[in-house]
């Protein structure tokens, strides 16, 4: 239970994330769409979350920034397409550190008895762009270049 499932098949530019929560779907939807609630859970624990805009409507813009303890900022922004609802929410997603690399995310909430399964299907512009996002050591062998980069980083981390 409560295990995040991340699927990224070779050769297609998709990432699928599935996670079950012990809460009804309306509450999950609120946690995903009320900026005050979003700020309380989204992002790494040690980073400050600053929500700049969060317009949950068709064509609405969202933007937030994660600030790490050294003050480095990691900004993200995008647009909601269609009226967000628990049945389906579609939004674009762009990391400001890699401008122009935009992905399209479809979010849905499937209700069971006392639980809700959240599914996120993300579509990237290319397999390479998808792999770059995934670069986390979990999809080994996906790209030799990234594997080498991973080894390099692993060697550098104990140094600094």
């Amino acid at each position: 239970m409560s295990k995040t499932e991340i699927t990224a098949e070779a050769g297609v530019p998709f990432i699928d994330v599935t996670r079950e929560f012990a809460a009804p779907r309306d509450l999950l939807f609120r946690a995903y769409t009320d900026p005050e609630l979003v700020a309380q859970w989204l992002g790494p624990r040690d980073m400050k979350m600053v929500i700049d805009r969060y317009e949950v409507k068709d064509g609405g813009v969202w933007r937030y920034v994660h600030v790490d303890p050294d003050g480095n900022e990691y900004g993200f922004h995008g647009v909601f397409h269609g009226t967000p609802s628990p049945d389906g929410t579609v939004q674009t997603f762009e990391f400001e550190g890699a401008p122009g690399h935009v992905s399209l995310g479809s979010l849905s909430f499937e209700e069971g008895i006392g639980r809700t399964i959240v599914r996120v299907h993300s579509v990237y512009q290319s397999v390479e762009a998808r792999d770059a996002v995934l670069e986390s050591g979990m999809e080994r062998g996906m790209s030799e270049g990234y594997e080498r980069l991973e080894e390099l980083i692993a060697r550098l981390i104990p140094v600094a």
Binding site: F21, A31, G97, V133, S136, L152
Partner: protein, 123 residues
């Protein structure tokens, strides 16, 4: 790190020769001649790669007698990749926090109006 700096770092890392150069430099400072030895590439070509790495702040260069030594600067790489490294961790950590938030909201009487809307669902 500004978005521009991050672009420069990712741009520099997008090339396999430059990644290989950085990997060599983890072993210690090297001259251009030493760095070009493993590659089927001229020293001027390697110098161009070094210029890109230097521009991204990933290496610094110093002069020793007649040779220029390249030195790895680890910090920008760490900063730029700290983000990429944690896709799974990012979501695991966010979802764990969401679990806690949902538990709080479900237990909070102030949140009853929202709970009332879900009455059709047997609990």
């Amino acid at each position: 790190m500004t978005p521009n700096q991050m672009d420069a770092v990712f741009g520099a890392l997008s090339d396999p020769t430059r990644r290989a150069i950085l990997a060599r430099l983890t072993e210690g400072d090297r001259t251009v001649a030493e760095l070009s030895a493993p590659f089927a590439m001229s020293q001027p070509a390697i110098s161009r790669h070094l210029k890109v790495l230097e521009g991204a702040g990933l290496i610094s260069r110093t002069r020793r007698a007649t040779a220029r030594l390249s030195h790895l600067e680890a910090e920008p790489l760490r900063e730029a990749t700290a983000w990429l490294m944690g896709y799974r961790e990012y979501w695991d950590e966010s979802f764990a926090r969401l679990d806690a938030l949902l538990a709080t909201l479900l237990g909070d009487p102030a949140d009853r109006p929202s709970a009332a809307r879900q009455q059709e669902e047997p609990s």
